[in-house]
Symmetry: C2
Subunit: 348 residues, 2 copies
DNA sequence: CTGTTAGCGCATTCAT
DNA sequence: ATGAATGCGCTAACAG
């Protein structure tokens, strides 16, 4: 039964049921109806019930625009990510959504595809809709700065732009990288390549730093030529990895600095018939589904991504509620998950 | 001049710059400023430039709430998915976001976790924010019905609730299943298990239908006991698969009806040391990253998920623009990607 | 071409 | 305990 469109109640001009309609139906004034429905102020129980009933019967839905305009929060929280197709950001978004939903807020998702311009456009949109706050993985300072300047509560996730006045939730990248590379060094590897997407932002830098720190601790010199930076949106990452491996045949292990890079490395290793870990060991930063599906499993630095989303959303909600205090910078701990992709260096 | 009651600069109150502030700064009326900025109506170029300059200088950001209240679209489009952590929905969301962003609309994402109640809550929120339209993978009729009844443009994706009055974009599940199972039958398999999450909605039903149709075409009888339904949020899917395989040792191939089920099947097969495809062949509906990373690759029915998101968003945008016409039901074609997980049935 | 007027739907004073 | 009045920021009529 599809109902055929026209429900001809006292419903005024255009199908949209407003507070006025409810009030009229209940025989009260709009203000009383407002109070009854919002639960503010005093309203006699009998009247309240009548209003509630009328609202239900008419299918009244409050109008956020009007409420927002009046000065309330829009109930919208912005999330700006760099690539929704990347499982990392999808997990992050899932954690954020879950937390927001529980607090009755809605998630507005924008993908900037790594572009500062698109991030700026997203920031403007969030401002424009009077978002209660914004969560973002920064791609430069501009967006964060613009938001903070206008008093918008901001929590940066995964990366930090360096802009002051916003909270952040990140994962200890340096520690994760140090453990991953230390794991390799402890197994005798001495020619460990680091393949990464970027070393321009703090996250990439920290991973590089961890890579170096691990070497330093082990008393092994690092060679600049063993670090390959693919770029943020490489045209042919597998080809780049291939060329790199051709030029560095002495490499016995690879540290892939994120899941996307890891994917390219794994595929190239397979393509050239290299066995993992017999011919080459592999550790990835950021544990993804496929790493536990393949044989052998890929040793990985697990990041609590979903939790990061949850924590970030919690911080934002708190901040949006008006609780001041100094900007907080929460750092979550990664965890090395050992699987089969790392073995002692082959004796040849 | 009129305004000497002002206490100085217009925006001093609360940091928020309004059209009034811009107009004052440019020495024009608010309506002129509005027209200049929105590009509607006639405004002298010199004035327009002055207004534009003032807006930029003050950092004016239009207020969507006010604009929406006035009767415009909110510029928000809702998307309701069942599980954002599932890569399938993440890809879908990515396609939607991309298309929306290009049209200057924002994506509001709600995850109903398969619950009708949460879907209903999401629907209410979309109504409340005067979304320009809503895209959803239905979990029942209620949400779609509520939206359609109120004249909200709706496009259903991946599944169809059967509610009339909305568009839909789906993938031909029956065809995909028929091809997948036909592929197995052609290789001599006669005991093919179908493991699925649900057979209650049209998508699951269509896949079951395709499974049966393939058997019928091959003249092979189907046995009810070979179909295992895990449920939408199974407590222990791997355990269930394990028990099933114990009870049906004659199975030589498995057709997993979606990527989540496929994951469980793959893991259980590995756990019990079964070789794929030597001991058991596997085909999955819905091609995911891990299926091309594992060795051998998993033969899969590739769904154009991202494109489905794009198409659905396009349809919605068109509909929201007020273009009427009969509800459209677009069906996208899946594609069987043959990899190494399917072999001729072992002769034993 | 530009300014004046009005009102979108709601929550909030302030009076009763 | 309830109703009347006000204004949030913007745009669409309508004058000029």
């Amino acid at each position: 039964m599809t109902g055929h469109g026209s429900n001809g109640h006292g419903n005024s001009k255009r199908g949209r049921v407003t507070l006025r309609d409810v009030a009229e139906a209940a025989g009260t004034s709009r203000s009383t109806a407002s109070r009854a429905l919002a639960g503010n102020g005093y309203v006699a129980d009998s009247i309240k019930a009548r209003i509630q009933e009328a609202a239900d019967r008419l299918g009244y839905v409050p109008d956020v625009s009007a409420r927002t305009l009046k000065g309330q929060s829009s109930g919208l929280v912005g999330l700006l990510v760099s690539d929704l197709r990347n499982q990392f950001y999808a997990q992050l978004a899932a954690g954020v959504e879950q937390t927001l939903a529980a607090a009755g807020q809605q998630l507005v998702l924008v993908d900037d595809h790594g572009s500062e311009d698109q991030a700026a456009a997203g920031a403007r949109a969030f401002l424009s809709m009077r978002a209660a706050g914004v969560l973002l993985a920064p791609v430069g300072k501009a967006a964060t700065q613009a938001l903070v300047d206008r008093g918008m509560p901001v929590v940066e996730v995964d990366r930090r732009s360096g802009v002051r006045g916003c909270d952040s939730v990140t994962i200890d990248s340096e520690l994760g990288a140090r453990e991953a590379v230390g794991h390799l060094l402890a197994r005798g590897h001495r020619r460990i390549a680091m393949i990464t997407d970027e070393t321009a932002w703090d996250t990439g830098q920290a991973r590089l730093k961890g890579y170096r720190a691990a070497h330093r601790e082990a008393g092994v010199p690092v060679s600049r030529r063993l670090v390959l930076t693919l770029g943020l949106r490489p045209a042919d990452p597998i080809g780049d990895v291939s060329a790199f491996l051709d030029q560095n045949p002495d490499v016995t292990a690879v540290f892939a600095a994120n899941n996307v890079v890891g994917e390219a490395v794994w595929q190239e290793l397979k393509r050239r018939g290299q066995r993992v870990p017999a011919d080459c060991s592999l550790v990835c930063f950021d544990d993804m589904t496929w790493m536990r599906m393949v044989e052998p499993g890929v040793t990985a630095v697990r990041q609590p991504v979903y939790d990061m989303g949850v924590r970030a959303a919690e911080m934002l909600l708190k901040r949006a509620t008006g609780i001041g205090g100094r900007p907080a910078a929460e750092v979550l701990q990664p965890e090395l998950v050992e699987r089969g992709s790392t073995l002692a260096v082959p004796q040849r």
